[in-house]
């Protein structure tokens, strides 16, 4: 930085270089401003989603909402609604909005380390798209909230375990019984003695088995005899076959007899028809007879009137 007078050409050269440095600075600052604006989503159109949560602890402005691990939205504002719930306003870029459907579920998950995530889950991607400004309630999945419950359950499990392994526990008694059982298995009666309880009973069981064997041998002989009786040359099966043949013949005869009965019935039917016709004629005959009788009655009455020996028909009581 000397104060020596600089030749005009050198001064121009320096001015050019200084301008170059200035342009470099402007490009860097301007580029950084543009890039950061792009990074903050200034150049993308978004739609709004309002998430209602009971507690917005851990949620901060600018944090991501993820879908399958990919950020698809950014928290723009958090405010307290009049009903005491937290309203989380999320900006979702239009190009990512198709992942959110009307049936999507939103969860606010807080990890053990303290990081909080807003996650979106969409089960059916063919449902209608989530409209702009949709309001959805958020499910809370709090890992730290689970710890006390987990501890209580673990304590319960440990207590049960210690009760099970205590000296007077049923598990111990069962193990002792198992040991007794295995001792009996090793004894003279073996597994049989262990099963029935004593050696005497085991002997009885063996005796019973022997007798059963004998019985089975006799049953075998019986079965052979029955076989002869049933399937032998003079057995029941042969007789039955003969009987069936005879029955067949009888059935043929019966069929012939029935056909004859049918014919008789047909004749009887014809007779019936004839009788019916005769009955009709009888009606006319009866009318003629009735007419004749009425004429005879009239004749008799006439005779009675004219007859000199008219008889007094009146009865007189004494």
């Amino acid at each position: 930085m000397s104060d020596d007078p600089t030749p005009a050409r050198g001064a121009n050269h320096l001015e050019f270089k200084a301008t170059l440095l200035l342009i470099t600075l402007l490009v860097l600052v301007g580029g950084a401003a543009l890039y950061l604006s792009y990074a903050r989503g200034a150049f993308e159109s978004t739609q709004q989603l309002v998430l209602i949560a009971e507690d917005s602890e851990g949620v901060s402005v600018g944090m991501d909402m993820t879908f399958a691990g990919f950020p698809i939205g950014r928290v723009r504002r958090i405010e307290l609604a009049p009903d005491g719930n937290a309203r989380i306003l999320v900006d979702v870029p239009i190009k990512d909005a198709h992942w959110l459907r009307t049936t999507s579920v939103f969860a606010l998950q807080r990890g053990v380390v303290g990081n909080t995530n807003i996650r979106a889950y969409t089960g059916i991607l063919t449902d209608p798209l989530l409209p702009d400004g949709a309001v959805r309630s958020v499910l809370r999945g709090d890992a730290t909230a689970e710890i006390p419950r987990l501890m209580a359950e673990a304590r319960q499990v440990l207590q049960n375990l210690s009760a099970m392994t205590a000296s007077d526990s049923s598990l111990n008694a069962s193990l002792a019984n198992v040991q007794g059982f295995t001792d009996k298995l090793k004894g003279p009666g073996g597994a049989m003695g262990a099963l029935v309880g004593s050696d005497a009973d085991a002997k009885k069981l063996i005796t019973a088995l022997d007798r059963t064997n004998t019985l089975l041998a006799r049953l075998d002989g019986l079965a052979a005899k029955a076989d002869t009786q049933v399937f032998g040359n003079d057995g029941l099966v042969r007789d039955a076959r003969t009987t069936v043949t005879q029955l067949n013949a009888m059935l043929v005869d019966a069929r012939a007899s029935l056909q004859k009965v049918d014919a008789v019935l047909a004749e009887a039917k014809a007779v019936g028809a004839n009788v019916n016709a005769a009955t009709t004629d009888l009606g006319a005959l009866r009318a003629d007879v009735e007419t004749s009788l009425r004429n005879v009655d009239g004749l008799i009455n006439e005779l009675n009137r004219k007859w000199p020996f008219k008889r007094d028909t009146e009865l007189k009581l004494p």
Partner: protein, 274 residues
């Protein structure tokens, strides 16, 4: 009684000295603010930039920035690589890789690089420039210029302030850009697959408030670094006649500069994290 009187006199002297030093401290800061306002008005007036002033500004900007830029960029890159490596390895060992990039950017770009750039420019350019001005003032060179019809404020002070401000801004911008590129490669490796995540993380870090605080902090750093050392010579020539006054004046301006940088850094930290 004598002891008591001596003690009283000593306390009285102490009080008088304290008052004098406090007054001196206040007056010197007033000189800095006054010179700053003067230079800012001059710098922002288009009529200032006559051909001679423009040439002087260009010379100081080039001479004050260009020789430093490669070295500072190299040193900043080396330091960045070391810090990025430490942060990334620590984050991986604790299973917090998702926070590594954010931490690297916050530590380097938001805090360390602007501060380092300001200190580097102060030590390499503006404090020597202030000393140079004081020497010129003491030797009467400025008076000679004034007599010759030239304005030393425009031709000597303004170009140095502009050059100092510009140097801090350019060094900080270049080093921040390099640090971001290095951080990207350290976290994602040599692939462009992580550009989306990187952009998103940057978007999350640089909220409007944080970006504004970074810009203001760097600007105030650059103004402090450019103004405080060169404004020292405005405090009158009486102290310059004392032996060793130049080095004492430089030391004084350096201390003042560090105090100002510290205050700006604390205010920016409070703004960022409270």
């Amino acid at each position: 009684m004598t002891t008591l009187r001596n003690l009283q006199e000593a306390v009285g002297d102490l009080g008088r000295d304290g008052l004098r030093s406090s007054l001196g401290w206040g007056v010197s800061w007033w000189h800095v603010v006054h010179a700053g306002a003067l230079v800012m008005v001059l710098a922002l007036s288009p009529s200032t930039y006559t051909r001679g002033v423009r040439a002087a500004c260009a010379r100081h900007v080039w001479v004050g920035t260009a020789p430093m830029l490669p070295w500072f960029a190299l040193l900043a890159s080396l330091a960045s690589v070391v810090i990025i490596r430490i942060v990334v390895v620590t984050a991986v060992s604790y299973g917090l890789t998702q926070y590594a990039l954010e931490m690297v950017i916050r530590v380097l770009v938001l805090e360390l690089i602007p501060l380092t750039a300001a200190l580097f420019v102060a030590l390499r350019a503006t404090v020597p420039a202030g000393g140079e001005l004081t020497a010129m003032h003491a030797s009467g060179a400025l008076h000679e210029q004034e007599k010759a019809g030239a304005d030393p404020l425009r031709h000597e002070l303004l170009p140095r302030v502009v050059a100092g401000t510009f140097a801090v801004l350019l060094l900080a911008a270049v080093s921040c850009a390099i640090a971001m590129v290095l951080a990207y490669f350290a976290v994602y490796g040599f692939s462009i697959g992580g550009l989306g995540g990187f952009t998103r993380t940057l978007g999350q870090i640089f909220e409007p408030g944080v970006a504004m605080i970074l810009a203001l902090k760097t600007l105030f750093f650059s103004l402090a670094v450019a103004l405080i050392p060169v404004a020292a010579f405005l405090r009158g020539p009486q102290s310059t006649v004392a032996p060793g006054a130049r080095s004492s004046r430089e030391l004084d301006s350096l201390v003042r500069l560090f105090a100002a940088i510290l205050v700006i850094e604390i205010v920016s930290l409070v703004g960022n994290y409270y």
